[in-house]
């Protein structure tokens, strides 16, 4: 490449950078995260990761003041809309919104964009949003279901599936994936499907009912690890040490129960990682980087090494990305490893 070409490429790159960031104040990055609720251990880890990341990015970049705050709608659509309206009026740079129902927020996305705010739809994609931060729920669910097939040993196997709140797109997608995965083998029978509304107390009652109704139940699958805590406790207290659990979320206490325990598979979202990834994503947007409009959070399947080998021997696809327990725990605990300031320097 000659000198003139290099100069042209440099000028185009500089122009693109200036063009994409011209509207933002170069010296500040204000991020707001509005969540649908704050009811599960996942949320605690999520917000903690988010807050830690804000602090870390603020310290790491001396030319940039990074600020952030989070709000919880406590499950109320009206509260969430009010919080979004008030936040838009405050004109932050980036808003992450985990909408209770995306259709209800369409009018607000337009308002936010008119104010120059980048709207990032969390978990449930929105066509109108600037970006959607998605989890690949169907694929993840399918991986959980296929892992169940591969680890069930080909014998008749009965499973109950605990669902999210009716109509929640993320929960529906996870359900779809889990059932697709289970359908890849013919020895598993889904004896019950029931929404627990992301509520651990409801999950406890459902587990108790299932253990009474289906004494030969082999496994409980859930669309969130929040259900696993009460389910495992109920099973243990009932003397059902043989019951298997298939989780979703990558909560550290659940992953810790995989080695030598009855948790057979989990999906590594990890609230801590997700919180860190939010801030990294906002930073990259602020710097003018072009990201995919639908940004898929990297969410591998978690298995023990022993179970992975068993699964592979039973026909589990080799191309499914699997983290073993130690690796999963490390990245789940230390979100900065993948998404900290070092990842964008």
């Amino acid at each position: 490449m000659n000198y003139l070409s290099k100069l042209s490429v440099g000028a185009i790159a500089a122009g693109a950078l200036l063009g994409t960031t011209a509207l933002a104040d170069e010296g500040t990055l204000d991020i707001v995260f509005i969540n649908d609720g704050h009811v599960a251990p996942y949320h605690v880890a999520w917000l903690s990761g988010f807050e830690d990341a804000i602090e870390a990015y603020d310290e790491a970049f001396s030319d940039l003041t990074v600020t952030g705050r989070w709000l919880s709608a406590e499950g109320s659509l009206e509260k969430m809309i009010q919080q979004a309206e008030v936040t838009i009026n405050e004109k932050p740079d980036v808003m992450f919104v985990n909408a209770i129902n995306v259709d209800a927020f369409e009018p607000l996305v337009a308002k936010a964009q008119a104010e120059g705010i980048t709207w990032i739809a969390v978990h449930s994609p929105m066509e109108s949003a600037d970006y959607s931060f998605t989890l690949g729920d169907v694929v993840n669910g399918r991986n959980q279901g296929m892992a169940m097939c591969a680890l069930s040993g080909g014998e008749p196997y009965k499973v109950g599936v605990m669902l999210g709140q009716a109509g929640n797109p993320s929960g529906e997608a996870r359900r779809e994936g889990i059932l697709e995965g289970i359908a890849t083998c013919d020895n598993i029978e889904v004896v019950a499907e029931q929404p627990a509304d992301w509520d651990t107390v409801k999950a406890q009652s459902i587990t108790e009912n299932w253990l009474t109704q289906f004494p030969d139940l082999d496994a409980i699958s859930g669309v969130t690890d929040g259900y696993m805590y009460p389910a495992i406790a109920v099973a243990t207290n009932s003397g059902r040490d043989d019951l298997h659990f298939y989780g979703y979320d990558g909560d550290i206490p659940i992953i810790q129960q995989m080695e030598g325990g009855n948790v057979k598979a989990d999906i590594l979202l990890s609230g801590t990682r997700e919180g860190w990834n939010f801030v990294q994503m906002a930073y990259r947007i602020h710097k003018g980087e072009e990201l995919e409009k639908v940004y898929d959070f990297f969410t591998p399947l978690v298995l023990t090494e022993e179970n992975h080998q068993t699964a592979l021997a039973n026909g589990f696809p080799e191309d499914v990305e699997v983290y073993y327990v130690d690796q999963a725990l490390e990245v789940a605990e230390k979100g900065f490893l993948e998404f900290g300031p070092d990842s964008v320097m």
Partner: protein
């Protein structure tokens, strides 16, 4: 003699209410000044518009709840009723293409749930708490069935007008709510029905003996609350351009909080709509201000709880002081 005592709130109680209103106005002023200092955006016209729009539905539902609580009852079903009547209205709208049909269907659906509440509570004399707890679940379940647990987009301009339109920074819904307040004030303070509401709450049996038909009053009070839930549903659909099965969640608790803040007695027979309006306003300002000031959401619930507890304690002490 009894009639005069029931229909006109005694001076002693009115004074207690006036003290409550003074406290509420003081708290509203203090909160406004505090939040205004913490964030200058608080007084912006845009934020005031947001604040008022966000509490418009709470205003309507709380006014209905005031009628209910004046009779000594409670209505836990209003939030679910907003979701249910909104679903019926949206389905009627999308089926017929007529906004009028949607409006009528939403209002009738809300009133139907109200009638069920009123019939069981008024005619069969069942516990208001138990009956409305049942319809709380019933209406939410019906809403989920109607919607198929999913939202329904609405693009009919006439149907969306009330909840979604603003004149500058003034949401159309605000003058509408003010008109409803005036109309309900006339009903409560200037009609026989209003006097019967107070009479029923003061002493159901005495009202019955005096031939006031309190059971019928109860039915109409719950129907009125259902009607206001239907109106709220129309506003909510307009606000989010869609029908939502999970709308109105926990709305009943916010409404009960606002009514209690406003000085309406849980036992019935004492209270005014003005107090409820002040209660809703205080509640809305606190929520808005806490979001604006970036207060930790954990503390937000704590602060709301402390304010409610403080006002209720104040009320208890002032009532005791005046009784001795």
């Amino acid at each position: 003699m009894s009639t005069a005592q029931i229909s006109t709130p005694p001076k002693l109680q009115l004074d207690g209410l006036m003290l409550r209103y003074a406290v509420l106005v003081g708290l509203i002023a203090a909160a406004s000044i505090g939040f205004g200092i913490a964030n200058e955006n608080f007084y912006s016209l845009t934020n005031l518009g947001i604040l008022l729009r966000s509490i418009s539905v709470l205003f309507l539902v709380s006014m209905g709840m005031t009628f209910v609580m004046l009779t000594g009852g409670i209505d836990l079903s209003v939030g679910s009723n907003v979701a249910f009547s909104g679903g019926v209205g949206v389905v009627a709208l999308t089926t017929t293409g007529s906004a009028t049909a949607g409006f009528v269907a939403a209002l009738l659906a809300g009133m139907a749930i109200g009638w069920v509440n009123g019939f069981f509570i008024g005619r069969l004399r069942l516990s208001a708490f138990m009956v409305t707890l049942a319809t709380f679940a019933l209406a939410r379940g019906l809403a989920l069935v109607i919607y198929g647990a999913d939202s329904i987009n609405v693009d009919n301009g006439a149907f969306l007008w009330l909840g979604g339109t603003s004149w500058g920074n003034l949401p159309v819904v605000i003058p509408f709510v003010a008109m409803v307040f005036i109309a309900l004030s006339v009903v409560l303070y200037r009609t026989v029905f209003g006097r019967e509401v107070y009479a029923t709450g003061s002493n159901f049996n005495t009202a019955f003996v005096l031939g006031r038909r309190p059971e019928r009053t109860l039915i109409w009070v719950y129907i009125l609350t259902g009607f206001l839930a239907g109106l709220s549903a129309i506003i909510t659909v307009g606000r989010v351009s869609s029908g939502q099965p999970w709308t109105g969640l926990y709305l009943e608790f916010d409404a009960i909080t606002a009514v209690i803040l406003g000085g309406t007695a849980l036992a019935g027979g004492r209270g005014r709509l003005l107090g409820t309006i002040l209660g809703v306003l205080l509640y809305g300002i606190i929520i808005n201000g806490l979001v604006l000031t970036g207060t930790n959401p954990f503390l937000q619930s704590l602060i709301k709880g402390l304010i409610l507890l403080g006002v209720v304690l104040l009320d208890t002490f002032t009532q005791k002081g005046r009784a001795t």
